[in-house]
């Protein structure tokens, strides 16, 4: 356990930024936190969490996959992959840190997605334990401890300063870059902070949410439930929930004709979109009820089926505050789950 006095936070960032691109939450013009590259003078946001999730670092909204040159009948494939620069994300919360595991379980299983893998290898995640969770937080429901987040390095804001613990080799290496600024820290300060956080978490309105009746193996029970219709009735079919979600990982591959060649890029897609499963001769999910059901079944049943029970939601609460019509996974769980009424 290392300790950094808050007074030296800026030096700490500068030391990291000297050899890595350092990203941390910064308030934007609307007062919302978003990850920005640190430079001298950048002030870290005091918000609980960023508006968009940290998945953007590993799975950006759009990325070029390759290019094609076409000439007459010939086609040439150009691999545009470049070696990524090393980067550090500071201030990731427990929920987003947990989401990386979920993304890994999709992108790093065979066949491995090399675009994702490269960025994952080059990124160091410094998490920050929550001190003041919000009413929309429910990570506890999925066994995530906001007071003890995962990541290469975990940090706590305590009365004695910023406490840092390296969890991985990458984390160790990062801390060693800043060794000059760090002192040995006292575990007890961390424990005190954690206790405070956990106390608040107990009081959160959604902490008592139950996953009973949901999870692996529940397809047959849940798929044809009549409640899906009423739940999805107001859904606009927009992609807000998917795009702010740290675990949504669906994408589309599209070609863009620049006039001088074809750029093939990948971009986020949403299972809420009507054209998501559209093909030349039909659509397997024709109505918004089916698309809505797919999203929540995926998070609450299909993903757990494939991951040994882990849910595909980390309880970050972004969809709760961003959905234009305030329909969200909590309402779905309460309606369909066993013990939430």
């Amino acid at each position: 356990m290392k300790r950094l006095s808050f007074a030296r936070l800026n030096e700490f960032f500068a030391a990291i930024a000297a050899s890595n691109a350092l990203y941390l939450p910064v308030d934007n013009s609307k007062g919302k936190a978003e990850y920005k590259k640190w430079q001298e003078g950048t002030e870290m946001s005091r918000q609980l969490n960023t508006l968009r999730s940290a998945k953007d670092f590993f799975f950006p909204q759009t990325e070029n996959l390759m290019e094609f040159k076409m000439d007459g009948k010939s086609v040439e494939v150009i691999d545009t992959r470049r070696e990524a620069e090393d980067f550090v994300i500071f201030g990731v919360r427990a929920c987003d840190a947990a989401s990386f595991k979920i993304l890994d379980s999709v992108y790093l299983v065979d066949p491995v997605d090399s675009y994702y893998k490269t960025r994952r290898e080059h990124g160091v995640v410094v998490t920050l334990a929550c001190a003041r969770p919000a009413e929309t937080c429910f990570c506890k429901v999925f066994g995530i401890d906001a007071a003890d987040p995962a990541g290469d390095v975990t940090a706590w804001e305590t009365d004695e300063g910023l406490m840092l613990r390296a969890n991985t080799e990458k984390g160790e290496k990062l801390l060693s870059l800043t060794a000059a600024l760090l002192e040995e820290g006292d575990e007890r300060a961390v424990e005190a902070a954690q206790e405070k956080t956990r106390e608040i978490i107990e009081k959160l309105p959604l902490s008592s949410l139950s996953t009973e009746g949901l999870g692996a193996g529940k397809t047959a029970e849940l798929f044809d439930r009549p409640e899906w219709k009423a739940l999805s009735e107001a859904c606009l079919g927009c992609g807000t929930c998917t795009f702010v979600c740290p675990t949504c990982q669906c994408y589309d591959v599209r070609d863009f004709d620049t006039g001088n060649g074809i750029k093939r890029f990948r971009c986020w897609d949403s299972c809420m979109y009507s054209d998501f499963t559209l093909m030349a001769h039909g659509n397997s999910r024709n109505s918004q009820v089916e698309r809505f059901r797919q999203r929540f079944m995926h998070k609450l049943v299909y993903y757990p089926d494939r991951s040994g029970g882990t849910f595909g939601c980390v309880g970050c609460g972004r969809c709760l505050s961003r959905c234009p019509i305030s329909m969200n996974i909590v309402k779905v769980m309460k309606t369909l789950g066993g013990k939430n009424k």
């Binding site: 996959l65 390759m66 094609f68 076409m70 009948k73 010939s74 086609v75 040439e76 494939v77 691999d79 992959r81 999709v106 992108y107 066949p111 997605d113 090399s114 675009y115 397809t219 047959a220 798929f223 044809d224 990982q249 669906c250 994408y251 589309d252 591959v253 070609d255 004709d257 074809i262 093939r264 990948r266 897609d269 299972c271 998501f276 499963t277 559209l278 093909m279 030349a280 001769h281 659509n283 397997s284 999910r285 089916e290 797919q294 079944m297 995926h298 049943v301 299909y302 993903y303 089926d305 494939r306």
Partner: protein, 275 residues
């Protein structure tokens, strides 16, 4: 060339055969000759014309063919129209192979096989059929029931007549939907034809065709006393990445591109009815 499954190979179309008015078969080879990659019967590949789109197409040639791969494509959308318009020598991109194959290396060994196909549905089965022809000693008898709207809509007709019909242990049963001049074979729909043929219950069934045909043939087979565990089919759904990541081709917890496209009917029973 690459270690990224999303980056395709470039292949040259070396031969184009018009199978039916709306189906063409494309022979694809690597620019330097030979196959782009090895595959197993029932697997698919992503064909693409950059700038147009990508589509998952089953590999209709047998893995035993060492010179080239073949794809049969029905004209039904933007990409397929483009493919139909192209000429020999055109390069296209191919990536794969993707998905689960028919279990020719294990479960099907030594079995009597009944292939049931309708229309373009024969394309994925052709890979298996020719694999079985080339490994005649490893499998039992082969019955092929194949039907289409008319005689002109039967794909691989020449191959069926000249090669499959003449293979020992092969019984080919063709049918068309309506009577037609110059056709003295069976007339009627595939599901009824299968029932009429009353196949031996020991056979393992491999089936592919339009959904309506599959539905009624399966019902017919059940009536005859077949078990769902004996029947395989191959599915087609909206597929984009081909590797179980982009998230659109799932039926319940299974991704068709990765966990399929070949499924046994008892497996499909466990999945929600969303295909």
């Amino acid at each position: 060339m690459n270690n990224e499954t999303l980056i395709p190979y470039v292949g040259i179309v070396t031969e184009i055969t018009q199978q039916t008015p709306d189906v063409k078969t494309f022979r694809v080879e690597a620019p330097g000759g030979g196959k782009l990659f090895e595959h197993k019967p029932g697997q698919c590949a992503m064909l693409s014309v950059p700038g147009i789109s990508e589509a998952m197409i089953s590999i209709t040639s047998s893995p035993t063919n060492t010179e080239y791969m073949e794809f049969s494509v029905k004209k039904c959308g933007c990409l397929t129209e483009w493919l139909h318009a192209m000429e020999v020598g055109q390069m296209i991109t191919v990536r794969g192979p993707y998905g689960r194959n028919f279990p020719v290396y294990d479960e099907l060994l030594g079995k009597d096989l009944l292939f049931v196909a309708g229309g373009i549905g024969l394309a994925p089965l052709r890979s298996v059929i020719n694999y079985v022809r080339d490994n005649r000693d490893k499998f039992g008898t082969v019955d092929i029931v194949y039907g289409s709207r008319s005689k002109d809509d039967l794909v691989y007709y020449k191959e069926i007549v000249e090669e499959w019909c003449t293979t020992e242990g092969f019984n080919v049963h063709l049918t068309i939907d309506n009577p037609q001049e110059g056709w003295d074979g069976h007339v009627g729909f595939v599901p009824n034809f299968v029932k009429e043929l009353n196949p031996d219950l020991k056979k393992t069934v491999l089936m592919c065709g339009p959904p309506i045909m599959i539905k009624f043939t399966l019902a017919g087979l059940m009536d005859l006393g077949f078990q769902k565990e004996q029947v395989y089919t191959t599915m087609e759904l909206r597929m984009k990445c081909g590797i179980g990541k982009c998230g659109r081709c799932n039926i319940g917890n299974k991704y068709v591109c990765k966990d399929g496209p070949v499924f046994r009917f008892d497996e499909l029973d466990e999945l929600p009815n969303e295909y």
